[in-house]
Structures are given as C-alpha cells and as structure tokens.
C-alpha cells in the first residue's frame, strides 16, 4: 500500500505550502483519482508518491518503507512506477523494446527475463508487434502507452500517472485509459492525476485538492450527482451532466449518474 499520512510539502523559498495535511492510501488493484485545478498540488503529491520529493511534514510510505529513508529509495522506485504528461519527455530507447527494457536493465534483471517482461508489458498496453518500432514513428497516444509499458516492465505494484492523457487526442486518450484500467484489473494500484472527471468515473475513490488541501474525498458518483458542489470545488463537469441535471429539475426523468446523449434524448421524448 502507498500511504500518505498527513503529508505537507513546501518548495524551498515558496511562501505558501504546496500541500498541507493530506492523507490518502492506494491499495493494490484500486484506482484512486486525484482531481483539482492547476496549481492545487496534484503533481506535488504525485511526486511525493515515488520519492521524487520528500514530504516536509507527515510521511509517505510504500509497503512500509519510508520515502524519506534514502536507503529505501531504489526499492520504492522499483515498486512505484511513474508516468507524466508529456510522452516525449520520458522515452529513451531508439526502438520500442529497447525503451521498455531500459528500466529492468538498470535493475540488473537477466536478459531472458527482460525479454519476457518487455513482451508482456507491450502486450498489456496493446502494443504487441511494435517491438522494433522507432518511438518517433508512434502516435502520441502510442508513445504514452509505451511509457506505461516502460513502467510496467519494472513490475511495479503501483503506478502513479500524472495527467497521462492531457496531451492526447480522443483516440489516444481512450487507449491510455483502457491500458490503465487493464493494470488495475491485474492488481496494480493506480493513482491517476487528472483535470477530467470523465477520465476517472470508475475510480474507487476520488480526492479533490484545492490550494494544497483535500476539499473532497469520496466517489465519482458523489461529484456527478451534486453538480453545484462539484463546481464549487473547481471541478468542471461535462456540459451534458449539467444539462441532465437542469432537465431533471425541469421534470424530465433522466437516468441518474452519467447518462449518454442517447439516454438524455430518450428521456426527453419519453416523459
């Protein structure tokens, strides 16, 4: 389990803390979503999760190991994969399989084992057959999935994804979301940082950060069913969710939660 206990963080020289009193845990096989506007502390929390940063108060542990313990950092990073917004910034290999092999090679994994892990990781993100492909010949969505495969080849128990879909087109975005869902079902604990509630409607838990503190801790349904609260929290609900809410107030029996365009239109014509 990745556990954030009452975590605070202040960047050197900054006047205000980037995070204060944040507690959350990510269990294997669970998807925790972290939402909040730009500058709310989301990325700082993500970086604290795999010891890229150490908390200035409270503590972060990964399966019992403290991220502030320098001796544990490499064990922690082997357990917690990390992918970030821009796929261009995280690809090192000249062909896909080399890129994916980079992590396990550095861990001293045997070549035969690396071969197995690389093929499995590429398969897990839907890139089987792309082994010999040059990364720059991939689409942005494929590059981001390659980055996920690189993290997977380390056999992490957890994956922290910091806005992994922010720079992708709709196709790339849906493929990356699918890959992340696949990991969860294989028992990886996922912390997914995003601006988009639509990306994480099936999360087990949603945290909303604002100015470094947790202002909502609940389920995605809790936000979707209470648009006024979500807007207060700075979470943008998709226009069709707001429309569905306004129509319900107008007496139209739109299904609760997150109805499709077809369901809303159907409800309008039925009632």
């Amino acid at each position: 389990m990745v556990v954030f206990e009452n975590v605070g963080f202040k960047y050197p020289g900054a006047r205000a803390a980037a995070l204060e009193g944040v507690s959350v845990s990510v269990r294997p096989g669970r998807l925790v979503a972290l939402l909040g506007p730009n500058g709310s502390g989301k990325s700082t929390l993500a970086r604290l999760g795999n010891a890229l940063l150490s908390p200035t108060s409270g503590r972060v542990t990964v399966d019992g190991m403290d991220t502030a313990d320098d001796g544990a950092i490499w064990d922690i990073r082997a357990r917690v994969g990390f992918i970030q917004q821009n796929p261009e910034n995280q690809i090192v290999g000249t062909i896909a399989e080399e890129d994916v092999a980079f992590g396990p090679e550095n861990l001293g994994v045997s070549p035969a084992e690396i071969r197995v892990r690389v093929d499995e990781a590429l398969e897990a993100v839907g890139l089987s057959g792309f082994q010999r492909r040059e990364p720059h010949m991939l689409s942005e969505g494929q590059k981001q999935r390659l980055a996920i495969a690189g993290a997977l080849a380390m056999r992490p128990a957890y994956l922290i994804a910091d806005e992994p879909t922010a720079m992708l087109d709709p196709v790339g975005r849906s493929d990356v979301l699918k890959a992340l869902r696949g990991l969860r079902s294989q028992g990886v604990g996922v912390l997914h940082v995003t601006h988009h509630l639509e990306d994480v409607l099936d999360a087990d838990r949603v945290l909303v950060l604002s100015a470094g503190t947790v202002v909502f801790d609940g389920t995605p349904g809790g936000l979707v069913s209470d648009p006024a609260r979500a807007i207060d929290l700075g979470i943008e609900l998709p226009a069709e969710v707001l429309l569905a809410d306004a129509l319900r107030h107008g007496g139209v029996r739109v299904p609760a939660g997150y109805p499709s365009a077809e369901e809303i239109a159907e409800a309008l014509c039925r009632s």
């Binding site: 730009n38 196709v171 429309l243 306004a246 239109a265 309008l268």
Partner: protein, 276 residues
Amino acid sequence: MPLLAEGVSYTYETGRTSGVEAVRDVSVSVDVGDLVVVAGTTGSGKSTLLRLMAGLLVPGGGSITVDGFAPGAREARGAIAIVFQNPETQFFAETLRSDVAFGPRNLRRPDPEGDADRALAAVNLEPAVYGPRSPFGLSGGEARRGAIAGALAMGARYLLLDEPTAGLDAEGRRAVRAALAAERASSGVVVVTHDPAEFLDDASHVIALAGGGVAFSGGVDALYGDPSAYEGAGLALPPIVRVQLLARGRGMSLPEVTLDADAAARALLAARGGSR
C-alpha cells in the same frame, strides 16, 4: 483581404516523415473577425497546415497569400503571429512585461513596454499586477495567456494558435477562450486543435482534416446539419450537442444548438412543452 490558403499541399522531404504528403489540397480563408477552427486527430496534418499558413513552410502545391501578398513579401511582414504548443515553455525574461515586450522590441517598435501592457490587458492579465511578476511563477492558465500576449504584442493581423488550451484546467481554458474571442475585434484567429468542442460556439468556420485532406469544411450550422464527414475524421461532437441534434431528429423544434447547458435545457424544455 484575407489570409488565404488555396489548394495547398506539402510533402516532408527529410526526417522521419520523408515522402509523406502531410497536407493535400487544403483551402482556408481567414479575415479579421473570423475564428477558424482546424480540427483533426494526431497526424491529420493540422500543425503542418498552420506552419504553411504562417509562412514557415513553403507549400509544394497551391498558394498562400497574406492580404494579397506572398508570405515573404515586405508588405506581409509582421502580419502573422504564431503560438506553438505549450508556448509558456519559451519564457526567458525576468518579468512577464519584458518577456512580452521582446517581440515588439525586436521589431523596433517605438513603445515595446506599452505594446506589452496592451497585450497583457487583452488576455485579461492586469498589466500593473502581472507585468512585474516572474513569468515562471504563474499558474498554468496565466502562463498560457502570458505567452499568447507575447504573440499579440507583435500587432499581427492574423493570430495562429496550435492547441491553445491543451493541458489547462477549466478556468484556464475559459480565460484563453475569452481572450481569443476578444482578439477577434482586431485580428483573424485560427485555432488548431484535436479537441475542438469548446470552440464550436465561437467558430465562424470549421475545417476537419483527416490524413492531410479536408474531410469537412463549413460553418457550424452545416456541421450540425450533417456531422457524418466530421465524425468520419475521428472527431466527435460534444455529447451536449448530440442531445440537441437527437432531439431535433425526433421532431423537437430547437432554434439553435448551444454548448451552454442552461440555455440548452431551457430550449429543450420549451420544445418539449410545445410538442405536446
């Protein structure tokens, strides 16, 4: 006279996309007051089209004219400003004002600081507050608008932007959208994006590219009238628009289609009452 691309094509001759025709027979016209949205998935040719229109690439076929002149002509100098993806990564100065003033200073304008302040005001960053601040301490939305101000300060008639809202939160996207809407008073604006939904209410013209060619070109009404070509280009209309199109298809009378949830709800409830 507009910024005009007529039947332009472009094939990359070197590098990773060598021999690939990235743009094929595309025509676009942009006048002051226009907001042209160029939509397409990754690899559809939209960023190449933007570079062609900015004169950064020379088309292999067809022509680009800027108010009737070739892009390289003296008369066309300074007519076009381009804002690349994630422009805030190009900040370099100690204050936002001096960063934004860099362009007009290089063009030897008489009052670069004044140009900078007017540009900052145009993107709703109060010059007295934001001018002296470090560009590196801004929020995502502020930084993006500051970088757009850097392009505006050059006083171009045509403003071309590549994915101007990518990676921004809701507030940042709204602020950028408002800044671009205001900019139309004095410029023609072209927005290239794979996520055009938020610009559809504002667009004067929509072009969807697929595989370098034009899949759809027309006004928003034409797009909503028959979205099949647009959807065929791998693009999706926003669900709120689809609700209204589906309602129309079922005989509800909606005078207009909007992205605004409250306005759409009012119109749908009224149409539903009326059809009983």
